[in-house]
């Protein structure tokens, strides 16, 4: 299919308007960041050395790296076993799929808050069961909570890779004298390396960006320090430098990931039909497997829901302002997801139908925007608008624009996948049957693309609804969303007031994840 697409691109000239959205996106992402860099460089060198090379920064760096590393390992362990059970065992894939995906609906900071509200004096465990469990906190608390709510990113990558491994590779290894475990280790595991590292990269990006859960769990990282700088002692140069250091860390992770994957070849050779794996019958191990999946599902999905429901029932009831916060979330997330899809469509179309180094670069720019920690990006946007168009500062359109650029990459993936299912031949066939270019697109390509567009919308919607960083820094004064409320109440330990907002967020998240699961199962 790839070859056919290339052939077409060689014959057809590139419509000159097609790269325009990508250029705008690139400008929207890079101009503020460049400005951030210029601002940071304005500082005089001696203060700079003091600020950047301080012992506090060294501590933050160590903390941040340890957290990212621990979370990457934690999610990989949780997700690997789950993905293996999902693809290769006779457990119902609906169960493993739900446990592997649903935690996406629960923001990490809601999870952190639920774990805090469940434990300690007066926590859910003590009031309901009479057991007092110490509150999680510090490094291990942060690793535990982030791993429990970020593992779906690792799971989804691993599951796709496991499904894609050709069963005959393993069978060949068996025929060449390897036992079942050795054959798996030698023939299958190497194929999973790219998925493990891609999943690890995603988890790492989220762990670096998180400031809300580490804040609740009292573990200081770069992101949390930036947030403190912004909310309390707003020292611009220092904030700018922290943001740049954070971007540097992400760049380091992107580089590491590229090095890990370099030279790994996993493309299938041959063109025959691929058989699917036979699922292993677990026998007596079945109960251990069920135990693992249910325990994981209970801690990452059950605990937040039960604990929040418990605290809501204890609360005053009839939470005022909930409707306002819900409306705030929707007024932000719906237009952002729409504009992200609208921007993603031409970029995906360009890269699929007219593949070139330029179109690949356009996709990479979008991915870079996604990888840039949202706090750093928000700071850059603030600096830039205050300098050039102060009228835009703290307005909803600016927030929507920044969020669309930041989350754009999430919309490009599914739309591109949809475009691959709608090869140009189909449109050409419609043209030969008497349809004009526009009606051919609408009658043939668009219906095939619809699920991709919907998936892109749902992914961006979910991320924006969970977002705290961009919203906190860029929203108009007084603008609230469910996310802002949960985090605000929870950091003041007002657990009963946070609970209904948290449950409403989980509800929205479950709806979005439900759409994604339905699309995936089709």
């Amino acid at each position: 299919m790839q070859a056919a697409v290339r052939e077409v691109s060689a014959r057809k000239p590139l419509p000159w308007l097609l790269p325009l959205p990508a250029v705008l996106v690139g400008a929207g992402i890079f101009v503020p960041l460049v400005y951030l860099l210029l601002r940071a460089l304005e500082a005089d060198p001696s203060t700079l050395r003091e600020v950047v090379l301080s012992s506090r920064n060294a501590l933050l760096l160590r903390n941040t790296l340890l957290l990212a590393g621990g979370t990457v390992v934690g999610t990989a362990l949780l997700a690997f076993l789950l993905a293996l059970l999902d693809v290769r065992s006779d457990l119902p894939p609906l169960l493993t799929g739900l446990v592997g995906t649903l935690p996406l609906a629960i923001p990490e900071y809601v999870g952190a808050y639920a774990f805090l509200a469940a434990t300690g004096p007066g926590g859910t465990l003590e009031t309901l069961l009479g057991i007092r469990v110490p509150r999680p906190g510090g490094y291990w608390g942060a690793v535990l909570v982030l791993s429990l709510f970020l593992y779906p990113y690792a799971f989804l990558n691993l599951r796709t890779a496991l499904r894609g491994v050709d069963p005959s590779l393993e069978e060949s290894a068996r025929s060449l004298g390897y036992g079942p475990w050795a054959a798996f280790a030698r023939a299958v595991l190497p194929q999973l390396k790219p998925a493990l590292s891609a999943g690890g990269l995603l988890v790492g990006i989220h762990a670096l960006a998180d400031f809300a859960s580490v804040g609740l769990l009292r573990y200081e990282t770069f992101s949390y320090a930036i947030y403190l700088q912004y909310s309390a002692a707003f020292e611009r140069t220092y904030a700018a430098w922290l943001a740049l250091l954070l971007i540097g860390l992400v760049a380091g992770m992107l580089w590491t990931e590229a090095r890990v994957v370099r030279g790994v070849r996993v493309a299938r050779t041959g063109v025959g039909a691929q058989r699917v794996f036979r699922r292993a019958t677990l026998g007596p191990w079945r109960w251990a497997a069920y135990g693992y999946v249910l325990a994981l599902g209970f801690t990452s999905i059950g605990v937040p829901v039960v604990v929040l429901a418990h605290w809501m029932l204890r609360g005053p009831g009839g939470e005022a302002g909930m409707a306002g916060a819900l409306a705030g979330t929707l007024r932000l997330a719906v237009p952002t997801a729409l504009s992200a899809v609208v921007l993603a469509l031409p970029i995906a179309y360009w890269s699929v139908r007219y593949p070139s180094p330029a179109s690949a670069a356009a996709e990479r720019v979008a991915y870079f925007g996604y990888a840039t920690p949202p706090l750093a990006f928000a700071l850059a946007v603030i600096f830039f608008t205050l300098r050039t168009t102060p009228a835009l500062y703290q307005t909803l359109p600016l927030l929507i624009g920044a969020a669309s650029l930041h989350f754009l990459s999430e919309a490009i993936g599914p739309i591109r996948a949809g475009l691959y299912q709608a090869p140009p031949h189909l449109e050409e066939a419609a043209r030969s049957l008497g349809y004009g270019p526009v009606s051919a697109f609408l009658r043939v390509t668009f219906p095939l693309l619809r699920t991709g567009l919907l998936a892109g919308f749902a992914l961006v919607f979910l991320s924006v609804a969970k977002d705290l960083a961009l919203t906190t820094l860029l929203s108009p004064p007084g603008y609230t969303t469910l996310a802002v409320r949960v985090w605000g109440y929870a950091s003041d330990a007002m657990f009963e007031r946070a609970a209904p907002h948290g449950l409403a967020m989980i509800g929205l998240g479950v709806a979005a994840v439900g759409v994604l699961i339905r699309i995936e199962r089709r």
Binding site: D166, S168, L169, E171, S172, A173, R174, S175, L176, G177, Y178, G179, P180, A183, R186, A187, P190, Q191, V264, R265, V266, A267, R268, T269, G270, V271, G272, A273, Q274
Partner: protein
């Protein structure tokens, strides 16, 4: 001759579908045996049963005198087999030489390297040892898969339509090449295909499989000229089935009398005639009319309609052609014909 592979009343079900039904088969040591059948006939399942990738629901499989499925179970890695898949299944993360050396576990490094060089030489790919599978053409990948399977000196080589992904020209060349390599390595081979030309070119003996059952086993000529049943006759090569009736110790048909084969008087039969069994003679008074012609290079295949409406296929090696509409008569070239009773 010693038996290499023995299947005894083997059955394999997938849910309610019987992929292989009560199959009994023997492959001799050193033989190139081809299982031939339409898609979905159970031939790949049979191969996977022999490899130990599937367990039979009933019956027993022996390899070189040892029970491997049935009363005893031997896992695939302990069966001493080589497997070549339709999609080659080369390990994409390993170089050609590493792929080939994969099965040489426990060999001394030097010996393993020598063996890799040896089999790569055998398949004519000594120059490609350091390449990755995706850098090779389809035919080269195919030969690497073969080399990998042969490297540990398996006693039995199992091949699952390994040529079906190659284009027509390369496929023909690889047939000869494959047979040479397998024969040179003195390995017993069980080869699965749906392509009868391939089966004819490769096989010492052919087993014809359909709907999970083995219908006939024999040398290619035997299968072609003396098919055991109507299905085999129809599936292998071109055939015309001519209705007839036994009268006075002979079979009377539209094309004349054929020997009665001792069948009881009055039996209704069908006579199978291969295109070469009939000679076409142009004859303005002849009963047949040419309706179609396919030029095949060394000969032409004609379709002739008889007065009853039966369509008969006959080949003609002459350089001149008979246009459609030409009246002809058909003369049997021999008196031997395969007869099937009509149920």
């Amino acid at each position: 001759m010693a038996v290499g592979v023995r299947l005894h009343e083997v059955t394999k079900r997938y849910g309610s579908v019987e992929a292989v039904r009560n199959l009994t088969l023997e492959v001799y040591e050193g033989e190139f045996f081809v299982l031939l059948g339409p898609s979905g006939c159970g031939k790949t399942t049979t191969l996977r049963l022999v490899a130990g990738l599937e367990r039979p629901d009933a019956g027993e499989i022996e390899l070189f005198g040892q029970v491997v499925s049935g009363s005893r179970w031997v896992p695939p890695e302990a069966r001493g087999i080589g497997l070549v898949f339709q999609d080659y299944a080369l390990f994409p993360h390993l170089r050609v030489a590493e792929n080939v050396a994969f099965g040489l576990r426990g060999w001394r490094r030097r010996q393993a390297m020598e063996r890799v060089a040896e089999v790569l030489d055998l398949v004519g790919l000594a120059a490609c040892a350091d390449r990755y599978p995706h850098e090779l053409s389809g035919g080269e990948q195919q030969r690497v898969a073969l080399a990998r399977a042969l490297a540990p000196r398996p006693r039995l080589l199992l091949l699952d339509e390994p040529l079906s992904n190659l284009d027509a020209e390369l496929r023909k060349r690889m047939r000869a090449e494959l047979r040479r390599i397998v024969k040179e390595s003195q390995t017993t081979a069980l080869f699965v295909t749906h392509d009868q030309q391939e089966a004819f070119a490769l096989a010492d003996r052919i087993g014809v499989l359909s709907r999970g059952r083995l219908w006939q086993v024999g040398a290619p000529e035997e299968i072609y000229h003396a098919p055991a049943c109507r299905f085999v006759a129809d599936f292998i090569g071109e055939a015309t089935f001519l209705p007839g009736r036994v009268e006075a110790h002979a079979i009377l048909t539209e094309l004349g009398r054929f020997p009665g084969n001792g069948l009881p008087e009055g039996t209704r039969v069908e006579l199978m005639l291969r295109p070469a069994d009939l000679r076409i003679v142009p004859d303005p008074q002849g009963p047949g009319v040419v309706v179609d012609r396919h030029f095949r290079g060394s000969e032409s295949l004609y379709q002739v309609r008889l007065p009853s409406g039966t369509l008969v296929r006959a080949s003609l090696g002459e350089p001149w052609t008979l246009p459609p509409g030409t009246r002809v008569r058909l003369e049997p070239t021999s008196q031997r014909a395969v007869v099937f009773p009509v149920e």
